[in-house]
Amino acid sequence: MNVDSIKNGIVIDHIAAGSGMRLYDLLGLDALDCSVAIIKNVPSRKMDKKDIIKIDADIAINFDVIGFVDPGATVNIIRGGDLVEKRSISAPDRLVNVLKCKNPRCITSCEQDIDHVFKLTDKDNKIYRCIYCETKQN
């Protein structure tokens, strides 16, 4: 399968196969006007299969979101057709306004203009909890 290489933009590579769509949603890429490609199940030597997202515009993206969905992903920034920056990602300690707390008894369900904040409480199992009610995200 072929997707045109991009001139100015971002390639999120080495996404665990199956996580590309979730990352697309959480990054809010559906709101972009530029071309965005999600390529699923690309054969990979290192990972067997991986997902890739290509964004054909030099936009600001939230690296915490990528680190949350898959800390093993890599981000390539492309300008003028050249790779100018390769970033590795790690799981963030805090996620601000990325996830919404689903606990109906949480203060975030009724307080206006409140930041939805999740904290990494268990590094080994990658568990994030709402800072207000401590409900686990899932």
């Binding site: 008894r105 203060i107 307080e111 800072i131 207000y132 009610c133 401590e134």
Partner: protein, 309 residues
């Protein structure tokens, strides 16, 4: 500025200080009757809880301070849709310390970010209620004389019972403590609490579904209410609510120096026949609530001296 949201915001040493202060207040209340003169406590109760509110107000008045506040959201600006953050922004300019209760979990954490004075969490939904836990700790210390080496039976609703969760968190910091978890399958202690406070700290525990089995082994029996509003259907509630009732017959199997605690109000989980048993200390427990709140208010206002000290 210090706030009190979760019992674990206080170190073991600070809890010891508060207990020592409460003991001294009980021994010589007159020495404390003026120490907070000129200070105002605001009790912001977005949901009613008469018992907790009165305990806070009584504590502040006993220290010579004054109180103001509201006792339910309907009588406050919150009924008109004002946010917690706006309410605290405004009210904290009218008082020196706030005790806040709210039906939503995490509300006091939002509140303290917008308050210019210390905030005490007086209960946030099914989440935390640190002054209840402080009351429980003072009760345990006064009634048993220690924290170390106690076997603590927790009975009833261990799934939603926040007082149980906080008490486990607080007691798991002491040496040689053992927990006996007594509940129906449906209301077992959540696994993350068991993991975080019991298993990871290497604390001994056992789990069972019958109160009779363990009556003879506990030093403390902490009873909780099985709340109707925690159930999705009436049938489950009716089936379970009577399963864990403490009566005089069961008390016969208990140690002579064990104590029975309950955060109150009770429905029928402790038969009134137990009330006259000297081991029943739930009414004394309620009384201790006032003294530990006095100690806490003093600490949070930075008042560290009784009269003449």
């Amino acid at each position: 500025m210090r706030h009190l949201i979760n019992i674990l915001d206080l170190s073991v040493g600070e809890i010891d200080e508060l207990i020592a202060r409460a003991d001294d207040i009980m021994a010589r209340p007159d020495a404390y009757s003026e120490v907070c003169r000129g200070k105002i406590l605001a009790t912001l109760f977005f949901e009613p809880s008469t018992r907790t509110r009165l305990s806070f107000e009584s504590a502040m008045l006993s220290l010579g301070g004054s109180v103001l506040g509201f006792s339910e959201a309907a009588s406050s600006s919150a009924a008109k849709g004002e946010s917690v953050s706006d309410t605290l922004e405004v009210v904290s300019s009218y008082c020196d310390i706030i005790a806040m209760r709210h039906p939503k979990e995490g509300a006091p954490l939002v509140g303290c970010a917008h308050s210019s004075v210390p905030v005490i969490n007086a209960g946030d939904g099914g989440h935390y209620h640190p002054t209840q836990t402080l009351t429980d700790l003072l009760t345990i210390r006064r009634e048993t004389g220690r924290f170390d080496g106690l076997t603590i039976g927790l009975c009833g609703d261990l799934k939603f019972g926040r007082t149980v969760h906080s008490l486990i968190a607080a007691m798991s910091r002491y040496k040689g403590v053992r927990f006996v978890l007594i509940s129906p399958d449906e209301l077992k202690l959540p696994s993350f609490i068991k993991q975080e406070y019991i298993k990871e700290r290497g604390i001994e525990y056992s789990q069972c579904s019958s109160l009779d089995e363990v009556m003879g082994e506990v030093d403390i029996l902490y009873m909780t209410r099985v709340q109707r509003e925690r159930f999705f259907n009436e049938e489950d509630y009716l089936r379970l609510k009577d399963s864990y009732i403490l009566d005089a017959e069961k008390m016969k199997a208990a140690k002579r120096d064990m104590i029975v605690m309950h955060p109150l109000p009770r429905v029928n989980e402790i038969s009134t026949a137990v009330d006259s048993d000297p081991r029943a200390c739930y009414f004394r427990q309620a009384k201790y609530g006032r003294y530990i709140r006095m100690a806490l208010i003093m600490k949070m206002l930075g008042v560290d001296r009784a009269k003449g000290e």
